[in-house]
Amino acid sequence: MIADAFVLARKDLLLEFRRREVVLGMIQYVVSTLVIVHFAILGADGSERAAAGMLWAAILFTAILSLNRCFAADQEEGALETLQLAPVDRAAIWLGKVLAQMAYLIAMELVALPAFWLFFFGDEGPAPLPVIAAVLLADLGLATVGVLVAALTQGARAGDVLLPVLFLPISIPLVIGAVTATLESFPDGDGTLRALGFLGLFDTLFALLAWGTFEHLTGE
């Protein structure tokens, strides 16, 4: 199943590489947000902490851009039905999408995180390693939940509106955990272990939920 998931993720990445429909838009959105907030809170008291919260809000909303396109290529000519009728575990379809979504998020963050440090911090920002760990764990959670919700809303009337309506409330605990981890990474923080543990727990629970339910979401 893992091998099938990688084959399907590779297909999604190849389509994105050729069409450039998602990642460039995500990068533009997140960098624009960072620039705007940078000028809005420049020099204000507690601006570093506000920036940490803003970073996660930007990542969360940027994720919606890619999730709204998650099944677009599969629906154009009905190719999702080829996958549904293939002799593979349907959870492989979900896992393939999660891997592809994570790749998009990481590609966006490769630009967003250096920009975040550049705009808001000198040498006194949060410790990079815990923040990167939080980013990776949060990416996994966003992709896990997001693909599940995208499968639920794909093909639905006003699905692109329905997706954030369902996705955002479920993702709020994840983002709170990620913001906490980022804040605790500052030199005066209490350590990030608990927040990272929470993110890991969230990822595990939703991965299990998605694994068990995806089969039923890809049908009619």
Binding site: E77, A79, L85
Partner: protein
């Protein structure tokens, strides 16, 4: 080769009833032609058998198993030809078939031979978004050739094909006859006579003969 059995099968889309208490059986290796006007329920019936649509009432079984509950092997034996190509527009013909071959555990070498068989070998490296309707239909046929299904569900398979393409389709159907159970929806009476062991007619979602 699988058997197919629909028992009092109905399908409703909102207020619209697409299938009304349809009972139909196809024996192992039998070829059943489905005829009927547009909107008579042929496509819905095929999608129900494929397990892509859940019946609102009644049951549809493939080899005794509900079609929406088929396991991996059960799904893999189905070859479904739709009004759409069921392929990725951003991939080339060869890439689309390689993906199908990989998912069906078929060797990569079958891709080339399938493309040759349907006459797309010269366009194998082209993205299918540049393909005509007929070429997309040939690609869909190539998908069936390489997957070697034992239950063929063909929804108006001649749609978009030129004379050469129709001849190709007829050759393939003749080859598949006896090695697969076939349900084929068509408007063409002669086509139904040539490729069906019997014909079932639908009207407004009901079997009429």
């Amino acid at each position: 080769m699988p058997t197919v059995a629909l028992e009092e099968c109905s399908k409703r889309f909102g207020e619209r009833i697409a299938l009304r208490r349809v009972s139909l059986a196809a024996a192992s290796g039998e070829a059943v032609a489905l005829m009927g006007a547009n909107g008579s329920g042929k496509s819905t019936l095929l999608r129900v058998v494929a397990g892509l649509v859940r019946p609102s009432a009644g049951a549809c079984r493939v080899d005794g198993v509900p079609s929406t509950g088929l396991n991996r092997a059960g799904r893999g034996q189905i070859g479904y030809l739709s009004h759409r190509s069921l392929a990725y527009r951003g991939l080339t013909a060869a890439e689309n078939l390689r993906l199908v071959a990989r998912l069906h555990r078929r060797p990569a070498s079958v891709v080339e031979s399938a493309l040759v068989e349907v006459g797309l070998e010269d366009r194998s490296a082209d993205r299918i978004e540049t393909f005509s309707r007929g070429m997309l239909q040939r690609l869909a046929l190539a998908r069936l050739v390489l997957a070697e299904p034992t239950l063929l569900l063909l929804d108006e398979p001649a749609t978009g094909l030129d004379a050469e393409g129709v001849a190709l389709l007829e050759r393939l159907l003749t080859r598949w006859r006896g090695s697969a159970t076939v349900l084929v929806a068509t408007h063409d009476e002669q086509f139904a006579d040539r490729h069906g062991d019997r014909t079932v007619r639908l009207a407004r979602g009901e079997v009429v003969t």
